[in-house]
């Protein structure tokens, strides 16, 4: 589904990604772990098409289509979804209006009729329940005054509404208490499907107790330096990043958070 070859990317002239290679097939769940500053978030942003990051070399294809030639909104319509590490607050745009506009943009792209306000309200309320977000949050400004956990649940709510082909979760576990982590993980697990891939970017392995990945990759210094199965994450938890020859100021376990 997603194929990344020799990806190099810079921000403000500084190279962050230095040759990433990654293949993700439909139905798979991949986790990318790594210390702070390793380039994890850069990779997420580059996949979503943030223009602040410049791709200098390499290629990314989604089901054979060159992703780098598509604008952010076109990538989203082709099925890329990024759950933001720091979801943006947008006062003055209601969450409901935002979500409906997004869903209808997708539907229009697929040649489907737009959903009217009543139909959409029904759907949005159901999914709000699924991520344990009170429907009153639909009426508020986008993420406006939401707690950290509420923002993350709102991200998962969007993923469930938009039904992407590839969901990228950027540090979705950060700032969550154990109950919220459970709700968010249940939401992500509900996304798991044969025709969908999930890419989780995380510093800590605790999320992987709830969302069990098929593959784990370690990103350091802008490159994937080790790949393995689930057990690699457990090993990182036990031994930190140090044994891989990486300097990291924080251990990769969950208790520190």
């Amino acid at each position: 589904m997603l194929s990344i070859k020799n990806l190099h990317a810079s921000v403000e002239g500084k190279e962050i990604l230095k040759g990433i290679n990654l293949e993700i097939k439909a139905g798979e769940v991949h986790a990318i772990m790594g210390p702070n500053g390793s380039g994890k978030s850069t990779l997420s942003q580059v996949l979503a098409g943030n223009e602040a990051f410049e791709v200098t070399e390499g290629e990314i294809t989604l089901n054979g289509e060159n992703l780098l030639e598509l604008e952010t909104e076109e990538r989203a319509r082709e099925g890329i979804f990024l759950a933001f590490q720091y979801p943006v607050e947008i006062p003055g745009v209601s969450n409901l209006q935002f979500l409906r506009t997004a869903v209808n943009a997708m539907r229009q792209h697929k040649g489907q009729d737009e959903m009217n306000a009543a139909e959409f309200m029904k759907l949005a309320k159901e999914i709000s329940k699924q991520v344990d977000l009170d429907p009153s949050f639909l009426k508020r400004g986008v993420n406006e005054g939401f707690s950290g956990g509420e923002k993350k649940r709102n991200e998962i709510l969007q993923a469930l509404l938009l039904q992407p082909k590839l969901a990228i979760l950027d540090e979705t576990d950060s700032g969550l208490d154990i109950d919220a982590l459970k709700v968010v993980s249940d939401g992500v697990n509900a996304l798991r499907a044969e025709d969908r891939a999930i890419l989780m970017v995380t510093h800590y392995q605790r999320l992987l107790n709830h969302i069990v990945p098929d593959y784990v990759h370690v990103l350091a210094g802008g490159k994937i330096i080790k790949s393995g199965g689930r057990e690699l994450a457990l090993e990182l938890e036990e031994r930190g990043y140090g044994w891989l020859g990486i300097k990291d100021e924080e251990p990769a376990d969950s208790t520190a958070n």
Binding site: A48, A76, F81, F84, V88, G92, F98, V142, L162
Partner: protein, 428 residues
């Protein structure tokens, strides 16, 4: 040194003589006082950013004829008064006989009422600060007098549609005086529209005399064409425990100027002033507001938003003057500005003068652009760039549009905004 420009004498000759004698006399007196009136220049402090847009040529001095059809009469849910080129058109007005409320054209006033009115016209305005309002006093051909007896309540909004027909150059001088008795209530909508394309000047004065406990809502919609220079002045004087709420929505033009002056003269009076301005192309818009806290225990709350696209220019100047005896005043002024292009210009200036020591006074002004992070967030959900821009721009003024208490006005405003968005944001 070049002598300061003065108002051309061509502007000092009113045409219509159909007003009652006391008003004709007043007009003549005001006209005499205008001889050699200096015109604002960039050295005139309160016209610093706007004088270059003021272009009064002699062919604009003549009053536009008060005849013809009121063409683009909008469907109005409520009561309606129609003015054409500053003169009331009785056949286009729709309002019933109302208990305790009189709505009359100046021309229809008895000499006694006209004499009373002549004593009070201009009384709500500081003429030094609104130089151009004096021209209206020397030139008005008609006007609307609304009188509410104590406790009278108008049950529906009253729409006052001021249309100018610019078939040829000229000017119009719409005038409104509202005398709101104790505990009376009214919602007024002033709508300024135009047809035709000749360069014209519209110079308006609206005055509100708000007695104790009265509750006034004033909505002002400026939607005239690209050929209309509009100079408007609104004066408000409020007595004890009265409330004045204003909603100004303006779309730019070659010159748009509105001065709003509120005097809180009675204890416990409060005013709430909201304003939205949208400019594009090479348009201009300038809002100058003054709130005089004269009495103690008064509240004022002011929120203005400007959006400037292309090479347009928006100005906001908000003055709050808290007099020595106005203890326990509570004043809050906020002006936020959104630049949609590098070529646009916004000037904002808060002016606070505080002479009382026990007051709360807050003010804030910002100028910014659409937030790239928010834009990326929206498009990352598949929302088109154009639509994302519209959502974010609308978010900037949504709160103020939603507060306009008349649905038909909100719809009109939204329609005009949609038109603005279509011209301003193209699909990538």
């Amino acid at each position: 040194m070049k002598p300061a420009p003065t108002l051309s004498t061509a502007f000092l000759h009113p045409a219509g003589q159909s007003l009652p004698e006391p008003l004709l006399a007043l007009r003549k007196q005001r006209g005499t006082a205008l001889v050699d009136m200096p015109l604002p220049t960039r050295k005139t402090e309160n016209w610093k950013y706007s004088s270059k847009y003021l272009k009064l040529t002699d062919d604009m001095a003549i009053s536009l004829p008060a005849e013809g059809k009121t063409g683009s009469s909008l469907a109005v849910p409520g009561y309606k008064v129609a003015f054409l080129n500053g003169v009331m058109m009785p056949e286009a007005c729709e309002y019933p006989d109302l208990d305790g409320i009189s709505i009359q054209s100046f021309s229809d006033l008895s000499d006694e009422d006209a004499s009373d009115l002549a004593d009070r016209l201009d009384s709500t305005l500081d003429n030094k600060a609104v130089q151009m309002a004096r021209l209206n006093s020397a030139r008005f051909e008609d006007g609307l007098l609304i009188r509410l007896k104590p406790d009278a309540v108008l049950d529906q909004p009253l729409f006052i549609v001021h249309e100018v027909t610019a078939e040829a150059s000229g000017s119009a001088f719409p005038r409104i005086f509202v005398d709101a008795g104790r505990h009376s209530q009214i919602t007024l909508v002033e709508e300024y529209i135009s047809s035709g394309s000749a360069p014209v000047m519209v110079n308006t004065v609206t005055e509100f005399n708000v007695a104790e406990g009265a509750n006034i809502t004033s909505i002002r919609l400026n939607m005239e064409g690209e050929n209309v220079q509009h100079i408007g002045s609104t004066g408000v004087v409020q007595q004890r425990s009265s409330r004045f709420e204003s909603h100004t929505v303006g779309f730019g033009g070659p010159l748009r100027r509105h001065d709003l002056q509120v005097r809180l003269e009675g204890e416990g009076a409060e005013c709430k002033l909201n304003g939205v301005v949208v400019t594009q192309g090479k348009q201009h818009y300038d809002n100058h507001t003054t709130i005089e806290h004269v009495a103690a225990h008064c509240n004022s709350e002011e929120t203005y938003r400007n959006i400037a696209a292309d090479q347009s220019h928006a100005v906001f100047n908000g003055r709050i003057h808290i007099h020595q005896d106005a203890q326990k005043s509570n004043a809050d002024m906020n002006n936020k500005n959104l630049l949609l292009s590098n070529g646009a210009e916004i000037d904002t200036k808060p002016e606070l003068e505080i002479y009382a020591d026990d007051v709360k006074c807050a003010h804030g002004a910002t100028i910014g652009q659409l937030d790239e992070t928010s834009l990326f967030y929206l498009v990352s959900r598949g929302i088109g760039r154009r639509e994302a821009n519209v959502l974010l721009t609308m978010a900037f003024i949504n709160e103020l549009v939603e507060q306009i208490p008349v649905e038909a006005v909100r719809e009109t405003v939204q329609g005009r905004l949609n038109h603005f968005f279509e011209q301003t944001f193209q699909e990538a």
